[in-house]
């Protein structure tokens, strides 16, 4: 058996639809205001698709960029994992559609359905496959098309203003130096709050799971539902908790941290988390202002932009952390 190695991100990519939807655009669809949205969420604009387009389409662009950065051919991948809460089709998973777009076959592909924590969960899976010696190169892609599942009327405004479409990707490979790459991952869930942020339909516990009445009724089970106060309250507790857990596991403190990339759920949450951890502004990366919450895609999009902006230097201690629907939350600590 090979010596255990770490896994490391070898390349990143991201892709967003071209159509920009500003807060002002939303005021034409629902009773809301630019100020209300920005004050509550920090979001100024997000991207929506404007024709039939799937997470696999956005994901392919992100994946090809990540593969190019990593210098890896799609055919060399041993495993492809796609994270989404807005799958392109009911089944198979979006990973299969992505595999076809990448023009490869043979290697296993699977979807991970862990909502806002999806990217951290996928990193944990990829890391386990690489460290066990069962995979050399793993592609992880977070891809979401929220816009086709939002109630853009006034009734849905609390949720609809938050989400955006987008995709981010990372290629992981083995790192022989145990002090580099992913140092540890930490995953959590608490299902008692599962229905505080959810899309219910199609629900296999409802017979039949889709009805014609669901299609355009107000407050349809097909639209997301959120009790924002619960989510906010738990997020500002669980984020710092799991970040400290990851640091402590590696004998580090918040002072050692060079960059925190929180899942882009809400700028106000990120700011409260940073304040609680006493992290100065330059040590936290946020881009939700431009993209909204892209759930499983938000961390790789943000991480890639941070790298492109020179915010992540070799040797930097970087923490990726997420909290969201499930509730699920988690963190990955890595030495760049």
């Amino acid at each position: 058996m090979d010596e255990t190695v770490n896994s490391r991100i070898l390349g990143l990519g991201h892709h967003l639809p071209e159509r920009v939807v500003t807060n002002q655009d939303l005021t034409r669809l629902m009773d809301t205001s630019e100020e209300w949205i920005e004050q509550r969420t920090g979001i100024r604009e997000r991207r929506f698709i404007s024709a039939d387009m799937g997470g696999a389409d956005l994901g392919e662009r992100a994946a090809r960029e990540a593969l190019r950065e990593a210098g890896i051919a799609a055919g060399d991948l041993d495993l492809v994992i796609l994270g989404s809460l807005s799958p392109d089709i009911d089944f198979p998973g979006t990973a299969s559609l992505l595999q076809r777009k990448l023009g490869v076959r043979g290697m296993p592909v699977m979807d991970v359905r862990n909502q806002c924590s999806g990217f951290v969960y996928m990193l944990a899976v990829a890391d386990a496959w690489i460290r066990s010696g069962d995979a050399r190169y793993v592609l992880v892609v977070g891809a979401e098309i929220h816009s086709t599942g939002l109630d853009l009327s006034t009734l849905g405004r609390e949720v609809a203003v938050i989400f955006g479409d987008g995709a981010g990707a990372a290629v992981l490979g083995p790192e022989p130096d145990r002090r580099r790459g992913i140092l540890s991952t930490h995953l959590h869930s608490e299902g008692r709050y599962a229905e505080k942020l959810m899309v219910e339909a199609a629900s296999s516990r409802v017979r039949p799971r889709v009805t014609e009445e669901m299609l355009d009724q107000p407050g349809s089970r097909l639209w997301p539902r959120m009790e924002g106060r619960y989510v906010f309250k738990h997020a500002v507790t669980r984020f710092p908790e799991v970040i400290r857990e990851a640091l402590a596991h590696n004998g580090c403190t918040t002072a050692d941290l060079d960059l925190l990339i929180p899942h882009q759920a809400n700028l106000r949450i990120s700011q409260l988390v940073a304040m609680g951890l006493e992290l100065p502004e330059e040590k936290v990366f946020n881009n939700i202002q431009r993209y909204g919450n892209t759930t499983a895609a938000s961390i790789p999009i943000a991480l890639h932009e941070a790298v492109q902006e020179g915010r992540v230097r070799p040797g930097a201690l970087v923490c990726l952390a997420a909290f969201g629907a499930g509730f699920t939350w988690g963190a990955a600590l890595m030495r760049w």
């Binding site: 799937g54 998973g93 595999q99 066990s132």
Partner: protein, 330 residues
């Protein structure tokens, strides 16, 4: 590096059985005709309001009990299903709450009919990488609420049943997962798929046109998929045995998982497997996508067909197309 092994296994089937005769009127064909089309004569349907996490809870408790463990001992849940309780969050979160586990990770994976093998392989990697010690692999489906009960689905709907199976995989001195090989090939995935609700569909992921056309129901081109499945199951059986360097003669039981049990049997025959040591998982209670393999394993253990130290070869093929093989030493 630690090894991983199956510490416990359990299953749960809903109490309500549904025979072909009961489906006959809706599906516009006699019970005998439905059996002829699919090879399935009875399956279980979940009670109204029950989702996969409800069925998985019972299977998980049985698996934990057989391992001498409780929910508090689990440090990761891996849940495989293609029929989740709700669109999101995943069924693993519901199971975490229903079992009363600590706030451990609840990973939801989607690999359709091969889901159990993808979940099992992933759990094995977590244990061997030292990232988890005891992983609950929960596999459950409630297909019955997704199916089309109209004559156009007479050759599809009877195949599927509801149920759950669970395994506890944990760190062990002797390896219990001897080999795992997994594959996907998306080329002709529309031969077995369900398109809607579809986020890629602009401007809304579900609309009247798609609904009225029945595009939210399973579509299956059995005549095209069967040969592909047969060939893949033969090849992956050989591949997993070769990977572990174990001759077929030493394997106590082969679990062959495919929605048509007759095709699974043909594949076993083509691979020259001894028929008396083969279980075609769909024979007992229809095809239960992610759950068929752990259910069949739990049944074989309960019946005394296999026991400690025996080799069990599990192979599966399904939508995606995704397929694989896992060789276990119990």
């Amino acid at each position: 590096m630690p090894a991983s092994a199956v510490l416990g296994c359990g299953r749960h089937l809903p109490a309500r059985t549904v025979t072909d005769e009961e489906l006959a009127r809706d599906l516009g064909a006699s019970g005998a005709r439905l059996a002829e089309l699919t090879g399935v004569t009875r399956r279980h349907h979940a009670d109204d309001g029950h989702g996969p996490s409800d069925l998985a809870r019972e299977a998980a408790l049985a698996a934990l009990a057989s391992a001498g463990l409780g929910p508090a001992d689990v440090d990761l849940i891996v849940f495989a299903t293609m029929t989740p309780d709700i669109a999101f969050p995943g069924s693993g979160c519901f199971l975490q709450e229903k079992l009363g586990c600590r706030t451990v990770g609840a990973l939801d994976v989607r690999a359709q009919c091969a889901g159990a093998l993808f979940a099992l392989a992933t759990a094995d990697r977590f244990v061997r990488a030292g990232a988890a010690e005891r992983v609950l692999v929960a596999c459950a489906e409630v297909h019955s609420t997704a199916l089309d009960y109209a004559p156009r689905a007479a050759a599809v709907t009877p195949y599927f049943g509801d149920g759950a199976g669970a395994l506890v995989l944990g760190a062990a001195r002797e390896p219990g997962v001897l080999a795992a090989v997994l594959h996907s090939d998306p080329d002709r995935l529309e031969r077995f798929w369900c398109e809607f609700p579809a986020s890629r569909h602009y401007p809304a992921r579900m609309d009247r046109e798609a609904y009225r056309a029945g595009r939210h129901y399973y579509q299956l081109d059995a005549a095209a998929v069967h040969p592909q499945a047969r060939e893949a199951l033969v090849a992956v059986t050989r591949e997993v045995l070769a990977r572990a360097a174990v001759p077929a003669e030493r394997v106590a039981l082969f679990l062959v998982h495919y929605l048509d049990a007759r095709v699974a049997r043909e594949a076993a025959e083509a691979a020259h497997l001894p028929g008396e040591r083969v279980v075609a998982t769909a024979e007992a209670a229809g095809h239960i996508a992610a759950a068929g393999i752990p259910i069949a394993l739990a049944d074989a253990l309960a019946a005394g067909r296999v026991g400690k130290g025996d080799l069990v070869c599990c192979v599966a093929f399904g939508a995606g197309m995704s397929w694989g093989g896992v060789l276990l030493r119990l």
